[in-house]
């Protein structure tokens, strides 16, 4: 009996919260915490920070696949132990950074990383690693994959990751449904559904809390209904704008579809306050096919936008700054994208997005 009790005794969690970062931090960073003076970038992928104390630290940044197997993690640790000083950090875009207090270690570290397949770059005015979500690999509501889209795109943008040749930094993201966990970016690739959900009426009553699903719809297109004698839901398909918000709380509202789940491209999101205020990105293309394994149609549009931006923008102009200067009509003209009625906002507050002026570039 006593033995049975000890067997079922569960371990109580230690509610320790966010770990103290100082214990893992490179000693030069600890020593100069809050005392940095300036930085420069001796080459793409390398940051050089100088402290008011005169101490210096070099950071080498490399791209990873984010979804890492333990062997990749150990390989990065081996490099960190052999060529750096045993401390790393990750950036918000899943790049890994190795810090060294000795400039002589920079070149061998870069060589070791690149030889092991980790591109060095992602600093300054480069195209950094794309922020991405979980997709088919692990999400419960994905319209597309995430890691695969990113791998396909980063293969194409590999050189731009390793160079600093863009007008300003380029942040990109992908999202595998319209919730957009990938977030705001200079260029974002986001699922856009094109048909209302197909309802599996046999399952609704057992799986879904119907009032919660009704409440979730942004356009009040969903209402309770009795279908084939069972409590279910119905959709006013004229109202439905196919956002997929009903699907997470109620999986029988099947929004995903092999053919009708499309991809849209958004541009001009910026979180920094530098120059203009932060901006939300805008939809500039939709209806692109969800075409694994390499999403070539999406990649072609993204590359075209990037190419025109690179050619046309002035130094330090982020994508949103560039469009603000040249105007949206010329953005569509130069990128060859088609401006359609679907790109005119009709959601709440939409009139603020109309041109209430005679400011027109001819």
């Amino acid at each position: 009996m006593a033995q049975a009790q000890t067997q079922t005794q569960m371990r109580k969690p230690k509610e320790t919260g966010v770990p103290d970062n100082m214990q893992y931090m490179h000693p030069t960073l600890v020593k100069n915490h809050g005392n940095w003076k300036y930085h420069d970038r001796p080459r793409p992928g390398v940051l050089h920070h100088v402290s008011h104390s005169g101490e210096e630290v070099w950071t080498v940044r490399a791209g990873t696949q984010r979804q890492m197997d333990v062997h990749t993690i150990r390989k990065l640790c081996d490099i960190g132990d052999k060529y750096a000083e045993g401390h790393v950090r990750f950036t918000i875009r899943s790049n890994i950074e190795f810090m060294v207090a000795d400039q002589k270690k920079v070149a061998p570290l870069i060589e070791a990383l690149e030889k092991s397949g980790f591109p060095v770059g992602g600093t300054g005015n480069s195209i950094s690693m794309m922020a991405h979500t979980q997709g088919w690999l692990h999400c419960d509501i994905p319209g597309t994959d995430a890691s695969g889209v990113v791998k396909a795109l980063m293969d194409e943008l590999y050189d731009e990751f390793r160079r600093e040749e863009m007008p300003n930094r380029v942040h990109m993201s992908t999202s595998c449904c319209e919730i957009n966990c990938g977030g705001q970016a200079d260029i974002a690739i986001i699922v856009q559904y094109t048909k209302p959900p197909k309802i599996n009426h046999d399952l609704v009553a057992n799986v879904c809390e119907r009032p919660a699903v009704v409440a979730r719809c942004p356009v009040a297109a969903i209402r309770p209904a009795l279908v084939n004698g069972k409590p279910s839901l119905e959709i006013d398909e004229k109202k439905c704008m196919c956002c997929g918000a009903c699907y997470p709380p109620c999986p029988p509202m099947q929004i995903n579809d092999a053919e009708h789940t499309k991809l849209a491209i958004w541009v001009g999101g910026k979180n920094s306050n530098a120059r203009g205020k932060p901006t939300f990105m805008k939809m500039v293309a939709s209806g692109l096919p969800n075409n694994p394994p390499r999403w070539v149609e999406v990649a072609a549009v993204v590359k075209k936008i990037l190419h025109v931006y690179k050619e046309d923008a002035r130094p330090w102009e982020r994508l949103s700054d560039w469009v603000e200067r040249i105007g949206w009509p010329r953005f569509f003209e130069k990128t060859g994208l088609t401006f359609t009625k679907y790109l005119i906002d009709d959601w709440r507050g939409s009139r603020a997005n109309l041109n209430a002026s005679t400011h027109i570039r001819f």
Binding site: K12, K14, T16, G17, V18, P19, N21, Y24, H26, L29, H33, G34, W36, D40, H49, V57, T64, R66, M68, D69, V70, H71, I73, L76, C77, D81, G86, H87, V88, R89, F90, T91, G117, T133, W136, L137, H138, D140, S147, K151, D155, Y158, E178, I179, G183, A212, R216, N256, T261, N271, S272, N273, A274, R275, P278, F280, P293, R294, P315, W316
Partner: protein
Amino acid sequence: MAKKPHDTPNLDALETGPWPSFVSGLKRLAKDKDAVVDLLGHLEHSYATKKGYWKGGTLGVYGYGGGIIPRFTEIKDENGKPTYPDAAEFHTLRVMPPAGMHYSTEILRKLADIWERHGSGLIAFHGQSGDIMFQGATSENVQKAFDEINEAGFDLGGAGPALRTSMSCVGAARCEQSCYDEGKAHRMVINSFLDDIHRPALPYKFKFKFSGCPNDCMNSIQRSDLAVIGTWRDNIRTDEPLAKKWFAKHGMNELVNDVVAHCPTRAIQLKEIKDVRKGESISAVAVNDTHALEIDNSDCVRCMHCINVMTGALAPGKDKGATILCGGKRTLKIGDQMGTVIVPFQPLQTEEDYEQIVELGQKIIDFFAENALEHERTGEMIERIGLVNFLEGIGLDVDANMVGAPRSNPYVRTDGWDEEVAKIKAKKAAA
């Protein structure tokens, strides 16, 4: 040795090309792990049919209500048997990273070893909310994995209608633009609300994010309910040797076109040294023997552009702290919302200053818990009730820095105007 791999022609196509391949990583794991053999089969099925096949569920660890993302396969044969049985349960543990995402190789190896023992061996550094995501444990192994990760000094993050895992930038650890100790604020705040992380009981998710300067590298304004963004009140600092060094390298065209012309409020001007104004709000620095930059700091909105371009030559001031914004979120349900200012300047120098962020956070979370509708974020709640009601609810005074512009319609009842003016004037006089 694991079982025989499935054919994965679609995924194989993602092993070519120069960028590190997650598929190659999965195949490395599949040599020893049946779960990953079947995960590859599962994912290939998604690629072939263009649909996802994971179902959520309820699963947790002892003592906590959240932090585990359960995943059960939906690919089954006609008898309801999983087609990929070894990946039939493939749960994720969300684990909070150290502030600023610093690691020693030693702790990384330790975490990798734990996950190789109890999970699939697949880890994401990091998920979009900032968690380390340990992906791929069976229901049975979730607790075992958590116990060891927890013993290693790490704790579960948030999921569901709860306070969520936070993120902070590299900040003071390695950035000259840092305006406060981001890691300290991050830990102090989040570790004060662990109950709200581990036992989901809020109307919906609530996120804090910490960025050390207005470059907002954590993207806090667009994706957190409470964004703490570093700034300063006094004048931009200057360093003449670095300014001259910059100018010698970049020249007049770049100075004019890339620095002066980009200032959003025209606070910065290029002047002959003899014409530079003196005054309390003026920062000035010579770039050569004849010319200088003159910044009128009372016009400066702390956008960071000139400081970003001429790092070190120009630098944030010394009277540092943060602007606090509330209500940022992405589309669902009412449309995108930026965080908007609720505290124009919170000094962050003393211990008490940092505690004030915790107190403000507590007030906002309490108000949110009491007043938000189910599945409503703070930004939506503020949109529904109005900023003034929200401010009164959490005990903050209105401030003209909270608006882009005053109202542009007359649809407001103003019969309390005189009392409000008197109250504000009395408060100012007493301060």
